[in-house]
Symmetry: C2
Subunit: 459 residues, 2 copies
């Protein structure tokens, strides 16, 4: 593929991973990245920590500057350039230069769609009022930061109690705002099973955050000098700042208009080589769905980890390689004040609802234990809650969840690795894991849970 032209739409994790990989493998290739925003390759996951003051400058979130991408990696990065159409027959894209509004056609040999995702806009009047924000791009973060610095708001209402909502609750508390989280569903962190969230929710409230679950926002109104968040269940909540953190949606419009196959999730369908239904077009990142290793069907779980890996696989294949993206588990970890919560694979609820483990989910087993994260006699040992979800027929591990103040983060990855290898709870119980009193037990808490689960296998 030397001397060919590779066009990449989107300069974030997936797009830049692919661009870098192509340039490394095929230095002769012309790689053009069109990015409609100002920044490429920044740590979106770090934005709440800059806003909250843990990280001292937004510049520290930049992984790769435009200048470095051009000079050091030889990638033809063009910011403020928006691709507005793909013509798969002529193999060209229409690009609008956001500076002067002019457009041009750019031919490609191979194309990568890495358009990411955008904040979901729930059907609530008032989303465009001043003081109402979403947080997806670095520009969004800068807007929030500037508002905090210039307006000194006292009261923040966050709509949505997922990862971003809770990370931002902490950020706002770090800046000494009064914080209220409104979640439509019956619990915060809705992608965890309920019993994994109880202590965490109590902890969040102890940190001075008011939580309203099962509460639907019907409108955001101007209420000079501030805003009013109107709910059905919790009345009207006064706010100086409102963050809408109700999830994201895949940016699949370009692909859809180009006639590419879309998945049932609404995201772009790709094969295990990250190729779309058009052999000259690849896609990666938050705009695509991935094969889920437990559900054994495609799922849309937008995470930076998958975007990086998917982009790398796409880039390797666009460079003439034969790389395969094996699939996802939706493994995620989030800091919630002093707690850490983590999940991999499917929750018990999701396993039952999937219909994959008995029509009524009757083969879904689960075990929950709480144990010290390290030797009980070690100073500062903290309770660690572990849940494993498994198939009761053969004991295969389907999912894991962890919550606690210590020892959560890399333990979830033991479970993720075990699920990938299709291990059973019996296998996990017999893994030769590390032990020393400052860190664990002779049986790791994950194994203690696996051994409890074992009693319910084959019965």
């Amino acid at each position: 593929m030397s001397s060919s032209t590779m066009v990449i739409i989107g300069g974030d994790a997936a797009g830049m991973s692919a661009a870098s990989k192509i340039r490394r493998e095929c230095p002769d290739t012309h790689v053009i990245v069109f990015e409609k925003g100002e920044h490429i390759s920044y740590s979106a996951c770090g934005m709440p920590y800059w806003i909250g003051g843990v990280v001292d400058s937004d510049r520290r979130l930049l992984v790769l500057t435009v200048d470095a991408a051009r000079k050091r990696r030889g990638i033809d990065v063009r910011t403020h350039h928006e691709v507005v159409a793909i013509d798969p027959v002529r193999r060209e894209v229409t690009v609008r230069q956001l500076g002067d509004g002019t457009s041009f056609q750019q031919p490609y040999d191979l194309l990568l769609i890495a358009t990411g995702a955008s904040p979901a806009r729930p059907p609530i009047p008032g989303l465009d009022l001043p003081g109402v924000f979403t947080l997806r791009s670095l520009s969004h973060a800068q807007q929030i930061y500037h508002f905090l610095e210039s307006r000194q708001p006292r009261r923040a209402v966050i709509i949505g109690g997922g990862y971003i909502g809770l990370e931002m609750a902490e950020a706002f508390r770090d800046r000494e705002l009064e914080v209220t989280v409104v979640e439509m569903l019956p619990q915060i962190l809705p992608n965890f099973d309920p019993e994994m969230v109880e202590e965490v929710a109590a902890h969040v409230q102890q940190q001075g955050v008011t939580i309203h679950t099962g509460t639907r926002v019907t409108a955001i109104q101007q209420d000079n000098p501030g805003l009013a968040v109107v709910t059905e269940e919790a009345g009207t909540l006064p706010a100086d700042l409102v963050l809408v953190a109700t999830g994201v949606r895949p940016n699949g419009e370009l692909a859809r208009q180009a006639g590419l196959r879309m998945g049932q999730t609404g995201a772009i369908w790709v094969d295990d080589h990250m190729r779309t239904s058009d052999e000259h077009i690849y896609a990666a990142g938050d705009c695509v769905e991935h094969y889920h290793l437990v559900l054994e069907e495609n799922a849309w779980i937008p995470l930076a980890t998958s975007a990086n890996k998917g982009g790398r696989v796409a880039g390797e294949n666009m460079a003439g390689g034969d790389a395969r993206f094996p699939g996802i588990l939706g493994t995620a970890v989030v800091k919630v004040f002093d707690y850490t919560v983590a999940v991999t694979g499917v929750t018990e609820q999701a396993a039952r609802a999937s219909g994959k483990f008995g029509e009524q989910g009757e083969w879904v087993g689960s075990a929950v234990i709480t144990n010290d994260d390290k030797a009980g006699y070690w100073p500062g040992a903290e309770p660690l809650k572990v849940k494993l979800v498994f198939d009761r027929r053969d004991g295969r591990v389907l999912g894991g969840q962890l919550a606690g103040k210590a020892g959560v983060n890399k333990r979830i990855d033991i479970v993720a690795t075990a699920i990938t290898a299709r291990m059973t709870v019996a296998d996990v119980g017999m893994l030769d894991l590390s032990y020393a009193p400052p860190y664990s037990h002779p049986y790791d808490p994950v194994q203690i849970c696996a051994n409890v689960a074992l009693r319910d296998v084959g019965r």
Copy 2:
């Protein structure tokens, strides 16, 4: 196996795991545990931390008291009882009561040998002088503790720079002793590859510990009022206390005298059901060798983790079950002052020496990276060194080592799980592991290392 008599020799991790398992599965069974010492089921790994003052009482190290084992679990525990012979034909053991020196015969239906290991006694004159200690049992720990409290020694010399030697160096420093570690081999932590130990050794020295590697102790002498440790390479080292931490040897004498098959390692041979060459005799814990999942032959690596699991498997099988012990990786983690180091599988040195990966070890590949343990912009991010050892033919992971001040402990278990599943470095690079800036990177450092390793696979 109801109403039968199960005799267990040794009341520590393996013996008590088996006893508890048998009683749970077969409540009618008479389970007798003969323990020659005073204590059962204590956390030997916690002893350095009691001696150093991190743990405030030796009572906190007791996992299960004799009284609780008898009353709550119905195990017939007999301390101060030493089994001095096994008669496999008559199926009985000869037991000496250490109190009055009398002996008796105890018949068994099934026997478990869980005699553990004893400190190696290097051929050094003076090992029996007052002030010279080993650390294996709680009684040893109590002797050291008492000596520290009553004699207030100022200078400790530790012979041996392995796990115990370094944990005790920290304990003695915590008590403000001057500490010197003498290691015969060219490096401390000899079961790590050299480059993984350099920073750790420097750190130990920064903590005020003098290290003499490549130094052989030829004698320990009385040098009133203290002791003198005589070396060839480092002269004579004055000491008020000497700890001999030169490893342990399996207690296989009873098994050998009973004619049981011994392994090439010198430990007791068992099959994957923890059964010895006699169908009525099982063995588990530090006295047995285990199947090594990477070397694919038996190895002797005495660790509490394997003792617990092996004991449990033996107990389940003695109770009529069909449990299998899959094998070991020698996974271990140790705190060395502010550092944590961890290992699983084989080191590069061991892989080369094994002859299993090319006669000259020519198929052994390795990759080493250093990266922040969490997002580089996160306050307190610490360098983390990761090494993966792999088979260059197919990329299969053979071993992993980690060293750093943070993020080591459970990360090694990702590698251990991957090795157990016979994953390649390519597989590891594509694992769906967790990420958030306070904890990791979009590619975990283990994956960054795996992706570096990948360049050397199949070439």
